[in-house]
């Protein structure tokens, strides 16, 4: 964090002799993030039309106002928060808006204005969380209610028509959203609350099988039941990505809470069983696995390139430096270029360099989440921060791994970058919770504060 320290020193108010809040660092970084996004808008226009786009100023101003409002809220209600979280969120959101704005130049409907609207709502909720939730420990009380709401949210889409083979959407007129996105935060809260309350029992009781300590059924029962309900619903909706995400979250949080490596083994066994079972039963999933193993097989069979192959073509074409924004051909991927496959456009037009930068931003966000969790004192907060950070990491892995052909493709959104209102809004809430918790984690002891 050398850059952060020097930036802090440069921007430090003269009276600050005490511990630094990091707010000036945050302001500089937030402005830099907005600047990068504005530069992206201009580059899209210059590369496609030969001139800066007329609406670049509006987009830049809108993003700048949102970022500054969020910064003001942090400054007011979370003075000691980690100064990296907000700038990373602004930059990722900004990159997402630029790439969607660029993809709008392909034939098809415009998505950037809607995405900006959702981002506004997301920042609004970010501010609301900071203002209304003064202590994250209050969330512990609503854990079971939250889990129930999450389950309802997940069941709802079953009554709506499937989109691209998955029943994960609720469509109301022009609006559509994925309730699974909201459900994942509620589920993380529930896991954190439950495990914080029962972690000793989970860790210590139970019998030994081979060299693993297995917990008692009555302790594990409720959590396993809820998890099974979630995954069951998701498998019914053939939303493999979200089930994988929930499963990963569940295993990571159980391990962090109990330190039992047995959980990892059980988790891996269960997921292997589930994967084989689902892959065997569902033709949708089966074809995804086949495409993952042989992404170019459809070409050799004379049927042309499938989406994975097109995605790989896009990444490869970008090479190390990329074609430049607006100069790639990711439209060849077909549908979902702005959502599931948006990373391919990043890879093609910004190159491996740009892709590494984006991955580094995610890594930093995740690392800061884990750092917050480890620094906190209350078990619920620790587990929640770690759980939320793990959510981001696993989701990035599942989406990016899918389009990069590292793992089978499962429809999911890339946090902050991909088109999708529910996703952007949820991720702003996740960052708001992390900011709230990091404020407590980094707050100096009272005598220093006086």
């Amino acid at each position: 964090m050398v850059a952060t320290d020097s930036a802090t020193r440069a921007a430090r108010a003269p009276r600050a002799r005490r511990a630094r809040t990091g707010r000036w660092t945050e302001l500089v970084l937030v402005l830099a993030a907005v600047g990068i996004a504005v530069f992206g808008y201009v580059e899209v226009g210059v590369n496609i039309d030969g001139q800066a786009p007329p609406d670049a100023a509006q987009y830049g101003a809108a993003l700048g106002v949102l970022a500054l409002l969020a910064h003001a809220a942090v400054r007011w209600r979370a003075t000691w928060a980690d100064p990296l979280l907000l700038p990373i969120a602004v930059l990722l959101n900004g990159i997402g808006l630029v790439v969607i704005y660029r993809l709008d130049r392909n034939p098809g409907s415009a998505a950037a204005p809607t995405q900006l609207l959702w981002s506004t709502l997301g920042v609004g909720l970010f501010i609301a969380v900071l203002l209304l939730l003064r202590d994250h420990r209050r969330l512990q009380r609503y854990a079971y209610v939250g889990a129930f709401v999450a389950l309802v949210l997940l069941v709802l889409p079953v009554f709506f028509p499937p989109v691209y083979g998955s029943r994960i959407w609720i469509t109301l007129g022009p609006l559509s959203f994925q309730p699974g996105e909201f459900a994942k935060v509620l589920l993380a809260i529930f896991f954190a609350a439950y495990l914080a309350a029962h972690r000793d029992a989970l860790a210590l009781t139970g019998r030994r099988v081979l060299w693993f300590q297995l917990p008692l059924g009555r302790v594990l029962g409720p959590v396993l039941l809820i998890w099974a309900a979630f995954v069951g619903v998701l498998v019914l909706e053939t939303d493999l990505g979200t089930s994988l995400l929930f499963f990963g979250l569940f295993v990571v949080m159980l391990y962090v809470a109990t330190a039992r490596t047995g959980w990892i083994v059980i988790g891996l066994l269960l997921s292997a069983l589930a994967a084989v079972g689902v892959g065997w039963l569902s033709p949708h999933v089966h074809s995804r696995v086949t495409e993952w193993l042989h992404p170019l097989a459809s070409i050799e069979a004379g049927q042309g390139a499938n989406q994975i192959a097109q995605s790989l073509f896009a990444f490869a074409w970008g090479g190390q430096l990329g074609t430049g924004l607006g100069l790639g051909h990711s439209a060849l991927i077909g549908f979902a270029t702005k959502s599931d496959f948006i990373l391919a456009t990043v890879g093609e037009e910004l190159g491996l360099t740009g892709l590494f930068a984006v991955l580094l931003l995610y890594a930093l966000l995740v690392a800061r989440g884990f750092r917050t969790g480890i620094a906190l004192r209350d078990p619920f907060g620790r587990l929640l921060a770690i759980g939320l950070a793990a959510l981001v990491a696993i989701q990035v892995f599942v989406v990016a791994g899918g389009v990069l052909d590292l793992i089978p493709l499962t429809g999911m959104t890339l946090p902050f970058i991909a088109q999708g209102g529910s996703s952007v809004v949820t991720n702003w809430i996740i960052v708001a919770l992390l900011v709230r918790m990091s404020d407590l984690a980094r707050r100096p002891a009272p005598e220093e504060d006086a």
Binding site: V252, V256, A316, Q320, F370, R371, I374, A393
Partner: protein
């Protein structure tokens, strides 16, 4: 990645590690997930890049190739190609000013079917991706600047090319004309021809045009001047005469040879027959044998010269060279290297397995014209950038020194006598010295097919002692004419091509 410093021990129950430890481990796991993504991205974007970029199903290379007007192929300073905006995904498509006339020179550039011949060999230059075109390679890489397509300046002489195509007319055949001193190809024609612009795009009409051409039994897309070999028949006797003279088997072209008549081929009881009764006597001179095109004498002299010296001489003109690039690769012309004497006798008169492209037979005439110096044939003069500045100049290069000036002089005399007094009289040009050789090669089962009519020649202004400015080979295959002979069908075409060059 180390996430934070330890915050005390904070151990868990029963001596198990606490959340500080497990959280750090879980954090490491999450970092590993992202590292795995970075590694996979590196694999795809760096190590598999080349393979994926050139996958047949990847349209990007084609999109890029046609994203800007393609560079042009120039004949005598004028582009014979062009580019037209399509409004589709492939922004520009190839057009041809006079497609059928130059098809054997240009080849085609099709968005659907790829690039061939000059369009294919110099695709990088024409589409602007050749690094030679870049002014500042590093800066261009940073700014993603795409170079405008460069031009390819051909050596073709438009008058000679037009004369060749018009001379062939509706017959099936080919013409190759060379400037003997430099090897520059002046005309390259193949009929029936095709319009490469008819399938340059991606529409159904383009696909139908392509299918029609592919299904046409006359094979209009076959480049007969470069890519098809025909038995050269009696035109090959120039090679045999050159070998006999160069090896000293014959020293005086007017002195009687010891060729017997009838000549029974060694190891057989079959005499080598002649097409004209004037040949049916022993002791004819080389000059008489060439003028009358006597099979018996030339077959005998080929055997006397020997297999090794015959194959060596054939090789000097491009026979048995599988990599004769002009830079479009010519088909391999064949002269067998392992034969018994009767096979050698037949091969020496251009029969048996002997087969040649019109290009190689033009090189034979050019070698005689240029004092035995066979120059590498070249179709391209230079490459230029879009602004006309030179990128690469093609210098003439010696292909083989086939024989000395003395033998060349004798060979030219033989060829002049063929045109003046013999089978090649149709090639005579007023005010010019013309040397040539006819050929009428049988083919098909039991010679049932229409014979191939050949003529090879060179010409220079009368009284000139300079290297003749043009050498030409003409083949007419499957003609509808009743009396098919090289002198009757092919010589007039050669004459008009040579005349076009002499009249420059």
């Amino acid at each position: 990645m180390r996430l934070t410093r330890p915050e005390g021990t904070n151990g868990g129950p029963d001596g198990l590690p606490g959340i500080s430890t497990t959280g750090r481990r879980a954090g490491t796991f999450c970092m590993l997930l992202i590292v795995a993504l970075a590694l996979q991205a590196t694999r795809v974007q760096v190590f598999q890049k080349n393979e994926l970029d050139h996958n047949a199903a990847n349209q990007r290379a084609t999109i890029q190739r046609y994203s800007q007007p393609r560079g042009n192929l120039l004949v005598a300073g004028q582009p014979v190609t062009g580019s037209a905006p399509t409004g589709g995904r492939y922004a520009y498509k190839r057009t041809y000013a006079d497609g059928p006339l130059y098809a054997a020179v240009t080849g085609y550039s099709s968005q659907t079917y790829g690039n061939t011949q000059l369009e294919g060999v110099y695709d990088d230059v024409l589409s602007g991706t050749d690094p030679k075109l870049a002014g500042w390679a590093v800066w261009d890489a940073v700014t993603r600047q795409q170079q405008p397509g460069g031009d390819v300046v051909t050596t073709i002489d438009p008058a000679a090319q037009r004369a060749a195509v018009q001379g062939l007319g509706s017959q099936k055949g080919a013409v190759a004309a060379i400037e003997p001193a430099t090897g520059r190809i002046l005309a390259l024609a193949s009929t029936p021809s095709y319009d490469p612009g008819s399938f340059a795009g991606t529409s159904t009409a383009d696909q139908n045009a392509w299918k029609r051409l592919q299904d046409d039994p006359d094979q209009p897309m076959l480049n007969r001047a470069l890519r098809q070999i025909y038995p050269p028949g009696s035109t090959f006797k120039v090679v045999t005469a050159a070998a006999a003279l160069a090896s000293g088997v014959v020293t005086d072209i007017d002195a009687p040879t010891d060729a017997p008549y009838p000549y029974v081929m060694p190891g057989t009881t079959t005499p080598l027959t002649n097409d004209t009764s004037a040949c049916n006597q022993a002791g004819l001179s080389l000059d008489e044998a060439m003028t009358l095109s006597c099979n018996s004498v030339m077959g005998y002299l080929g055997v006397q010269t020997g297999l090794d010296r015959m194959t060596a001489m054939a090789r000097n003109f491009g026979f048995n060279d599988a990599r004769l690039d002009v830079p479009v690769r010519a088909a391999r012309s064949n002269f067998d290297t392992e034969m018994n004497k009767s096979q050698l006798a037949l091969s020496s008169i251009g029969q048996y397995d002997t087969a040649a492209t019109p290009l190689v037979m033009a090189m034979v005439a050019a070698g005689a014209a240029n004092d035995g110096q066979v120059m590498s044939p070249q179709l391209v003069d230079r490459l230029t950038k879009a602004d006309g500045s030179q990128v690469q100049l093609m210098h003439p290069s010696l292909y083989h020194q086939a024989f000395g000036a003395g033998v060349a002089q004798q060979l030219r005399q033989l060829m002049v006598d063929v045109v003046e007094n013999g089978t090649g009289r149709n090639a005579r040009i007023p005010g010019a010295e013309v040397g040539g050789k006819t050929g009428t090669a049988q083919h098909g089962v039991d010679n049932s097919g229409t014979p191939y009519a050949w003529f090879i020649a060179w010409a220079r202004p009368a009284g000139s002692t300079a290297t003749p400015p043009v050498a030409v080979a003409v083949v007419v295959a499957d003609s509808q004419a009743t009396d098919v002979t090289g002198g009757g069908l092919a010589a007039p075409i050669a004459r008009s091509v040579m005349q076009a060059v002499l009249n420059r």
